[in-house]
């Protein structure tokens, strides 16, 4: 079972280490982790995607709550969240593959943000499934390198909100 944790923490040095250390010490999985400042410069948001059994996923929340630098935790399932990931993929191209790459980008709404004679950098901001799909589609062509932010997520807006 996958679960997303949106963890608001004090923006202090060492906090990421404390949160990440908790996961390693207690054998919790980290599928992805992304950190950034929020609108309040004193507060950072760590978005963690984890997977495990129900009891483990509960423990993650409880143990995170014990950390004094943790201000607030929101946790939700994949279905309850809007999640996005930013990915940059550098691929090698030649005359015969250029067209195909451009078609894939068009279909998946990815854009080409940099290029040279032999290399293209593609940008995609989408759900983790679709970023994976782009990788799969490009894999047969020749990927040089990939950089991904990890999943960022917020709880879906409720119609009554």
């Amino acid at each position: 079972m996958k679960r997303l944790y949106s963890v608001l923490v004090e923006n202090r040095s060492g906090v990421l280490m404390k949160v990440a250390g908790l996961f390693s010490r207690r054998m919790f999985n980290i599928d992805s982790l992304a950190v950034g400042e929020t609108d309040d410069p004193d507060v950072s948001c760590i978005t963690i995607v984890s997977s495990g059994e129900k009891g483990t996923l509960e423990q993650i929340e409880k143990q995170l709550n014990k950390k004094i630098d943790v201000i607030k935790i929101k946790t939700f399932s994949e279905e309850e969240s809007v999640s996005r990931e930013l990915m940059l993929v550098k691929v090698k191209y030649n005359k015969s593959t250029r067209k195909e790459i451009m078609e894939i980008c068009e279909i998946l709404n990815a854009s080409i943000v940099d290029m040279s004679k032999n290399l293209l950098t593609i940008q995609l901001c989408d759900t983790p499934e679709r970023t994976n799909l782009l990788i799969n589609m490009l894999a047969s062509i020749s990927i040089v390198e990939v950089a991904r932010t990890g999943t960022l997520a917020l709880q879906k807006c409720n119609l009554s909100d």
């Binding site: 004090e10 060492g14 280490m17 404390k18 250390g21 010490r25 009891g55 509960e58 423990q59 409880k62 143990q63 709550n65 014990k66 004094i68 630098d69 943790v70 201000i71």
Partner: protein, 538 residues
């Protein structure tokens, strides 16, 4: 005023009476400032014991224990002591000196990333970067250590911060931590559920853990047990909540506990766990219990609830506060028949096999010793066979039983006894250790002698690391590996080297009188008790 003066003043503000420590250059400004405040300073002989002394002090005084070490090796030597306190939720503030903040990260002499190193053993840690933060940080540290689930907090102070001038010292009256608000009162709905469950139960049992002592709730929990006539068992850390001879008390649970205590847990239809972690040594198969038993779990730490076993009725809050609340409710509970059944189990319990008569029987010895101790005596057990015999046979009257339960740190008893002495100078204190654990902290005989502390230390001498030997006997068919303690000093000579009175008990003949003489000695004393090398716990 310098940062170091401010640190000393913070300790005064927190009404700290004693600090246990070991100086080095990086913490010298602080120790210099300590000369001008009225707080006792105890020089330990190795830093780990400073943390154990603070631990013993905290457990007896109910206040935060303070230990101090220098940067680098001083700080890293503290770690085992900090981890010991963390495992048993003992409130400590550990102060370490650090190299000049401008040199942090450059691996200069005696630099260690102590806040990083202790991360998984502390409740919180601080690296002070600005001298003006000292009052706030100390206030927060003492607050965090002593509230909610208690535990150690570390403050690392670079030497230039200790030497920097602080513009204005004002000790905050309150802490303002937006992220830290431990639950104190129990949820009324949950309390009502507990009362209802008691009304329905035929065979209820209370299992008390160290949390009861930490919350100073022993009296309320005892009253609760007596009000409803519910039998009580305890974990290793919960020993002392109930007097051993209380008719409702059925001993310690766990793989080294009393068989009738474990049977009581297994046959009960309502287990009320109070301030206990449901840890592996206490309850080896949590799943077994759950089948047809209602489990109530009362703990201050919500993360403990459901960690090892999913309770039917969780109740989070400070235990003493919760039992103050529970007092106001009434339920019908008649478990006389159940108590009778348990008494039957107790009467049928197998008797421990006596060791060879040329040696001292540790069970008999401990029983005899504890009968002779003052009612409010403090008994500190080390780790190993001595500890298991102690928790099996020591009779708590109205005193305390201290040991390192969660971490099982050898060498704990002597420094913890010294710390306990600082907290309760009027009380009788006995430290019981094996010949292995004694040698892990025997250097503190010097500390004991330096301050003329009338602590009575007992060494169970069997020439082996007994509990490991027993394990190797059972698991590896007696193929002993690295458990032979040959080469140990002559404890009598060692004792006279420290100028500590010494007695030796070879067998049970004359034990009675020798124990009387030993307990009657002024100042520190050491007794060597010869144990059958092949004796086992049960």
């Amino acid at each position: 005023m310098l940062g170091a003066d401010a640190m000393a003043k913070c300790l005064l503000e927190e009404q700290v009476k004693v600090v246990f420590g070991y100086p080095g250059v990086a913490i010298c400004p602080f120790f210099n400032s300590m000369l001008s405040v009225d707080i006792n300073r105890v020089l330990v002989r190795t830093e780990q014991n400073a943390a154990h002394m603070a631990n013993g002090y905290a457990r007896i005084s109910g206040k935060v224990g303070v230990c101090v070490a220098t940067s680098g090796p001083g700080a890293t030597n503290l770690i085992t002591g900090i981890a010991t306190a963390y495992a048993d939720s003992i409130p400590l503030v550990c102060i370490t000196g650090q190299v000049d903040s401008g040199q942090l990260g450059s691996d200069v002499f005696q630099e260690a990333d102590i806040t990083g190193a202790v991360e998984s053993f502390v409740k919180y840690s601080y690296l002070v970067k600005n001298v003006e933060d000292i009052p706030r940080i100390f206030k927060e540290a003492f607050h965090i250590a002593s509230t909610g689930r208690k535990g150690p907090v570390l403050i690392d102070v670079p030497i230039d911060i200790q030497n920097a001038a602080i513009s204005k010292f004002s000790y905050p009256a309150e802490v303002n931590l937006r992220t830290y608000k431990p639950t104190v009162s129990g949820h009324v709905v949950q309390i009502k559920k507990v009362i209802k469950a008691i009304g329905r139960a035929q065979r209820p049992i209370i299992c008390v853990g160290g949390g009861v002592l930490l919350s100073e709730a022993s009296e309320n929990v005892r009253d609760f047990a007596h009000k409803y006539g519910i039998p009580v068992v305890s974990t290793l850390m919960g020993i002392g909540v109930m007097p051993t001879k209380d008719p409702l008390y059925f001993g310690m649970v766990g793989n080294n506990g009393k068989p009738y205590a474990n049977r009581a847990m297994n046959e009960s239809d309502l287990i009320i766990m109070i301030g206990a972690r449901v840890a592996d040594r206490a309850i080896s198969q949590p799943d077994l219990i759950m089948d047809n038993t209602v489990l109530v779990h009362i703990d201050v730490d919500p993360a403990e609830i459901g960690k090892n076993v999913g309770p039917h009725i969780p109740l989070v809050g400070d235990i003493n506060t919760i039992f103050e609340q529970i007092k106001k409710y009434e339920a019908e509970c008649n478990c006389n028949e159940w108590v009778e059944t348990l008494n039957g189990y107790k009467a049928d319990a197998p008797v421990r096999k006596k060791p060879r008569s040329e040696y001292v029987d540790p069970a008999e010895f401990i029983r005899m010793l504890s009968e002779k101790l003052d009612d409010d005596a403090i008994y500190v057990a080390d780790v190993g066979q001595n500890q298991m015999w102690s928790c099996g046979y020591h009779i708590v009257k109205a005193g305390r039983f201290l040991t390192s339960g969660g971490m099982g740190t050898m060498g704990y008893s002597i420094p913890a006894a010294i710390g306990a002495r600082a907290a309760a100078p009027g009380r009788q204190i006995v430290a019981v250790c094996g010949d292995g654990s004694f040698q892990m902290s025997m250097m503190e005989l010097a500390t004991m002698q330096q301050h003329k502390l009338p602590i009575k230390t007992i060494i169970f001498h069997n020439g082996y690391l007994g509990l490991v030997r027993e394990y190797q006997y059972n698991t590896y068919k007696g193929n002993y590996s690295v458990v032979d303690l040959s080469g140990s000093p002559d404890f009598g000579k060692l004792s006279s080297a420290y100028d500590v009175p010494f007695m030796k008990l070879e067998n049970m003949d004359g034990a009675d009188k020798l124990i009387d003489d030993f307990l009657g000695t002024d100042g520190p004393a050491l007794m060597e008790v010869m144990i059958d090398p092949l004796d086992v716990v049960k």
